[in-house]
């Protein structure tokens, strides 16, 4: 059958199991011999693995197609996960039972929370990750996920059929064609091809086609997408050289040690796999004027820097740092690549100079005087698809049941890719079972901000998550991602395990109970002052002060509070996570109520849905300028809220749009005599209040 026809190498680890599974599906499918899956995911990177696992968790028979099984879960660039904003994304991926947080808890070698002193809303969970361990653990996870099959193969083309009439889109994807001509049928297809679409690697003046160093790019697929009419853009990124560990003089450099204790990424883990004392340190060094000279003297040899392809406004490469901020010393972090790896990753030294110049530059940096470069840094230029061509479920407007996730949508970073992967996987699966899409609102998560920004505004530089992009940063915190997303994931998508759901439920009810208990304990401020002399409690207030208010003081935590009022607070200190979360809730309690108004207004506009099949270019009964029509046509906003965020769409246009939608519905309702006139215009009363 499949393997007999030789259409690709099967993943060896679960060969027998996979065979069984495919055999069964072949029996189901219409064309004998052609395997058939609910969801086919193309690409085994951070978006692809999350997408495939999420679709399988939702109950879809899923196939992950990748060039090479042994590169599944490969960290192509930095040996770290998380950070500020990115850590938030990981917590949200985890809240939906995604993989990367759990895998990082098993593969990290240096866990450190950034922004510790800046407030828990902006803590950045981060860890240096052992590349090899991560890949191993990820492959183990993927190859042992029920309903998920893995196959090697390069996808060259998509199989397209007639569109479903009840959905917009000019055609429907029904399968993929592999490089050897064989086909796989699919109900939904997710493309997570990263930088592989017409990927081009650049070092100095040399350039060769590759998705990643040593891997073939996808050219056929890029052509297919272009032929279908997708608007394609080009972006560039880069990675630093790797240095031999034993050639570095660490003794003269700043040593940075990990946190003790380590804070795990996943809600289901209490600890990480490795003790703090067994973790590896990082080292810090700096560039110097000689580095600037080498960059500036050799610009003519550096085609990646000179080219006009849009790079980001921030500075990922040492060249752009030197060009934009001359005469400054820039940080270079020397990060371990793994427990037993001989390589060091010099974060901050991403560059595309010719290899010999890279080595020359490295050796003029303090501590790296005798450093040996194992392989050079390089730039990658690749196609991305304008993300305004996809809906918030990540399905494309043009082709039904085709989903895009990850770097293909113009983002950068493992975490951004993973976040899109989970959402695409869930939605590809929901689409097959004809359930409504799972969309995270801007008011619910960083994932919502990421996808809303991409789909309504597009991007012209690699999009990276920052906390400053998030309006409701005080509510969308790393600590409460479970209460924001786990319940929805469980009920609406079915992507969350029973165990995780129960844990989140317990935490939610404990928090609610804890907060109401804390509110109910009220004393005069002077009594509090005598109970907790450590805290600088102001005694000017004449009203009684609740324990929750006292918990807002910097010096007070649950331990201290429980010492002052053991009954009934003692029991809330038993679970460390609960005690910490109660304190965070207290810190942001009043700010949350102040933002609630704004949150509700955004939610109200997001509840006003626009028909997905509206032809903005031709509708006559509505007064919209040509410019507005074109913008709406391209982005296809799904709600009034999204439409109003598109630059150039005026308030008057929004009102006209609302009116048109309402008229049309009434007319249709009158014709069909359907009682449901409010299919698209939900009442604001339906908005649910979030408890915490």
């Amino acid at each position: 059958m499949f393997s007999v026809r030789g259409c690709g190498r099967w993943a060896a680890a679960s060969l027998a199991k996979q065979h069984l599974r495919v055999a069964r599906f072949c029996g189901d499918s219409a064309a004998p011999g052609t395997p058939h899956f609910d969801v086919v995911v193309i690409g085994g990177g951070h978006a692809g693995t999350e997408a495939a696992a999420a679709a399988a968790r939702c109950g879809s028979r899923t196939l992950l197609l990748t060039h090479r099984v042994d590169t599944i879960g490969q960290m192509s660039c930095n040996p770290s996960f998380g950070g500020i904003g990115k850590g938030h994304l990981m917590r949200e991926v985890d809240a939906l039972d995604g993989l990367c947080s759990r895998i990082c808890d098993q593969s990290g070698i240096h866990y450190k929370v950034l922004n510790r002193r800046k407030g828990p809303a902006v803590w950045g969970l981060r860890a240096q990750i052992d590349r090899k361990l991560y890949k191993q653990n990820m492959q183990k996870e993927i190859l042992n996920t029920p309903l998920l099959t893995v196959q090697e193969g390069a996808v060259e083309d998509l199989i397209l059929t007639e569109p479903e009439p009840e959905h917009p889109g000019k055609c429907r994807v029904s399968g993929v064609v592999l490089a050897d001509g064989s086909t796989v049928n699919a109900e939904s297809v997710i493309l997570t091809t990263g930088t592989f679409l017409r990927g081009m690697i650049v070092i100095g003046l040399e350039r060769h086609p590759a998705g990643r160093l040593g891997d073939q790019p996808s050219i056929g697929l890029a052509q297919t997408l272009e032929k279908l009419g997708f608007v394609v853009g080009r972006l560039k990124t880069g990675t630093p050289p790797r240095i031999a560990k034993e050639s570095i003089n660490f003794s003269i450099l700043d040593k940075h040690t990990p946190d003790n204790p380590s804070l795990p990424f996943s809600f289901v883990n209490e600890t990480v796999w490795i003790k703090p004392e067994d973790q590896l340190p990082c080292y810090l060094t700096h560039t110097n004027p000689r580095v600037d000279e080498i960059v500036l003297e050799n610009l003519h040899l550096n085609s990646h820097v000179k080219e006009t392809t849009r790079g980001p406004r921030y500075c990922p490469s040492i060249e752009s740092k030197v060009l934009r901020f001359p005469n400054r010393l820039h940080q270079v972090w020397l990060e371990p690549e793994g427990m037993d790896s001989d390589l060091i990753y010099p974060q901050g030294l991403s560059m595309t100079l010719p290899a010999e110049l890279q080595e020359k530059m490295i050796t003029c940096i303090r501590g790296l005087e005798k450093a040996k470069m194992i392989h050079p840094g390089y730039g990658v230029q690749y196609d991305y698809l304008d993300p305004r061509q996809i809906s918030p479920s990540l399905e494309t407007h043009l082709v039904q049941r085709l989903f895009f996730a990850g770097q293909i949508n113009g983002t950068t970073g493992y975490e951004e890719a993973a976040a899109q992967g989970v959402i695409a996987g869930i939605n590809a699966s929901l689409r097959v079972s004809r359930k409504p899409p799972f969309v995270v609102s801007r008011t619910e998560g960083y994932i919502g901000v990421l996808i809303d920004d991409l789909t309504t505004l597009g991007t012209s530089e690699p999009y990276r998550m920052f906390t400053s992009r998030v309006e409701f940063r005080l509510s969308l915190r790393p600590d409460n991602a479970d209460s924001r997303l786990t319940f929805r994931g469980y009920k609406e998508a079915g992507c969350v395990s029973q165990q995780r759901y129960e844990r989140a439920s317990w935490m939610k009810s404990s928090l609610e109970e804890g907060i109401s208990v804390l509110k109910s304990i009220e004393f005069s401020s002077s009594k509090w002052k005598s109970l907790i002399p450590e805290a600088s409690i102001s005694i000017t207030r004449s009203l009684p002060v609740s324990a929750l208010d006292v918990l807002k003081y910097e010096e007070v935590d649950m331990e201290l509070l429980a010492k002052a009022v053991p009954d009934p607070l003692k029991k809330y200190t038993k679970c460390r996570e609960l005690a910490a979360r109660l304190r965070i809730e207290a810190t942001y309690e009043s700010a949350f109520f102040q933002q609630l108004q704004e949150i509700k207004e955004v939610q109200r506009d997001e509840a006003l849905q626009l028909p997905r099949d509206l032809d903005y270019l031709s509708i006559k009964d509505v007064s919209l300028s040509q410019e507005v029509r074109e913008k709406l046509h391209f982005s296809r906003p799904q709600t009034i809220g999204a439409a109003s965020r598109i630059p150039g769409v005026t308030p008057a246009a929004i009102v006209n749009l609302l009116r048109f939608v309402k008229t049309t519905q009434q007319r249709q309702a009158a014709m069909n005599q359907l009682p449901k006139t409010d299919q698209y215009l939900y009442d604001t009363d339906k908005l649910q209040e979030r408890e915490l």
Binding site: K118, D453, S590, S644, T650
Partner: protein
């Protein structure tokens, strides 16, 4: 690049307008409210409460002020304290007082419409007050001080009514046009306010605040993985402190506040020595301009708020437009010159009836009168009243001067002849300008301005108090939101642009 606005309500780009528990009198009211609701945190309200003057402008017998939203019942109770809410949908007479000072404002007819049986479908309140500007202004300010209330935005009542299914489709059709018109009128009003000292101030404050915010955001998003310069936060603190002082001083300075009192703008213009200043003095009944027979006595725009035929008017007198003046005078003329005219709703073009053939008169007719007269008010042009002054210098029985001129009025500022006719003409024009629903209420505009500046100041106070940097940054975001409500802009991209311009950050 695309601006990246914060999510906003559909019609109104005004993001952060929530009640802040500020110190002082407003804070007391807020606490009083909490107590009334019982212990614990105040119940979150499902929508902001907005208020506006709903009747027309100008002096009138009765003015109607409406509030809509969940806190409108509270607002009614607070303004009519100690009385309880009146029976629903029944007119009741109540004494309104300012909740901050307890000072009585007016004896008014009040109506309480609990939702959903109301104009917007929400809880609504109507205050029918005596129509003087002082009373209306007082009640609006009192409402503005009630926690949870803010001035309504263009078309907001209608939009709320629409959202609650209270409008039929024909009514909604008018809404988009109305919003379009209001946006235009607001743009013009914003131009007026922002042209000049206050505008420059607001813009420079917003600039300072955006930069401070960008630096705090950079410190949050990049403070640890990149080498930000030392003292980024300290610098932001210093800037915020300076801004606080400046805003506080501005809010206390009533003189500057008066500049905001923008009624209909009437600008008197004409060649030197046509008698513009005399007319202004006549209309305002107090000497605003120094009057002398010397041409070029007025070198600057002098503005005065006057009540013309019941309409609030900001009357200004431009320096004469004259060729060959001395350098000092030219400067005085140039600065306000056309700028003053562009902001005018009504232009009173004034010529010396006895001197129509002079080069300066002819030049004025060719340039200003011809240009302004070329566009009708329906096309968005300004209204023009042509006045020929110094009729006392004309021969008593002679022919009417200037046969080729557009329709004009004869006047003598010296004797007062023709003043009645001029006032009548102005009244007609003012009625057209002020009766136009697209012109925002000057009282509301002023109230809005004050509201945002005060809210900005409150937020800056929160910034200083917050030890948690995320909370501090949020306070700056709120403060900036209030300032950018007055100056425009305010997207996240603007902040990111500053971050990437000022700091070398990236992975």
């Amino acid at each position: 690049s695309a601006t990246r606005p914060r999510p906003r309500r559909v019609l109104v780009p005004f993001p952060h307008l929530y009640n802040r528990d500020s110190g002082g009198a407003v804070g007391n009211v807020s606490r009083a409210l909490c107590l009334r609701r019982g212990s614990g945190a105040p119940a979150p309200s499902p929508g902001a409460t907005v208020f506006a003057l709903s009747s027309g402008q100008g002096r009138c017998g009765v003015a109607v002020i409406r509030a809509s939203g969940p806190a409108s019942g509270d607002a009614l109770r607070i303004l009519t304290a100690p009385r309880a809410l009146p029976a629903a949908r029944t007119a009741s007479l109540r004494l309104l007082s300012d909740p901050r000072s307890g000072e009585p404002l007016d004896r008014a007819l009040v109506l309480w419409f609990p939702g959903p049986r109301s104009f917007t479908g929400e809880d609504c309140v109507e205050f029918h007050v005596h129509g003087g500007p002082a009373v209306v202004s007082g009640v609006l300010q009192a409402l503005g001080s009630v926690p949870g209330l803010r001035p309504a935005e263009a078309g907001e009542f209608t939009r709320r009514a629409f959202a609650h299914g209270k409008l039929n489709l024909t009514e909604v059709e008018g809404l988009a046009d109305l919003i379009h018109a209001e946006t235009e009128a607001q743009r013009r009003q914003a131009l007026r306010q922002l042209d000049g000292e206050l505008g420059q101030l607001c813009r420079s404050w917003a600039g300072t605040l955006t930069k401070a915010l960008a630096h705090v955001e950079a410190y949050i998003d990049f403070g640890e993985d990149d080498n930000l310069e030392e003292g980024v936060l300290e610098q932001a603190d210093v800037e915020v402190r300076e801004l606080e002082v400046a805003l506080g001083a501005h809010l206390r300075d009533a003189r500057r506040g008066q500049r905001l009192r923008s009624g209909a703008h009437v600008v008197v213009t004409g060649p030197p020595n046509a008698g513009k200043s005399s007319l202004v003095n006549l209309l305002s009944r107090k000497p605003v301009s120094i009057v002398s027979p010397e041409p070029g006595t007025t070198r600057d725009v002098l503005e005065t708020a006057v009540d013309l035929a019941g309409f609030p008017v900001l009357l200004s007198d431009t320096a004469g437009l004259r060729e060959g003046a001395g350098p000092v005078e030219q400067e005085g003329v140039r600065r306000p010159g056309r700028g003053g005219l562009e902001q005018a709703d009504i232009i009173v073009a004034m010529l010396d009836a006895s001197d129509l053939a002079s080069p300066s008169s002819r030049d004025f007719l060719d340039t200003v009168v011809a240009t302004v007269g070329a566009r009708s008010p329906r096309e968005g042009g300004q209204r023009l009243v042509l006045v020929l002054n110094k009729s006392d210098l004309l021969p008593a029985e002679g022919p009417r001067p200037g046969p080729g001129l557009p329709p004009s009025l004869l006047l003598s500022c010296l004797t007062g002849d023709g003043l009645h006719g001029l006032l009548e003409a102005l009244r007609k024009e003012l009625a057209a300008v002020c009766g136009d629903p697209s012109t925002g209420s000057p009282l509301l505009t002023r109230e809005r301005h004050r509201h945002h500046l005060k809210a900005c100041l409150d937020a800056l106070g929160h910034y200083k108090q917050s030890k948690d940097l995320a909370l501090a940054a949020e306070a700056l975001r709120v403060a900036r939101g209030h300032l950018t409500c007055l100056t425009g802009g305010g997207g996240t991209e603007e902040v990111l642009d500053i971050i990437f311009r000022d700091f070398c950050v990236g992975k």
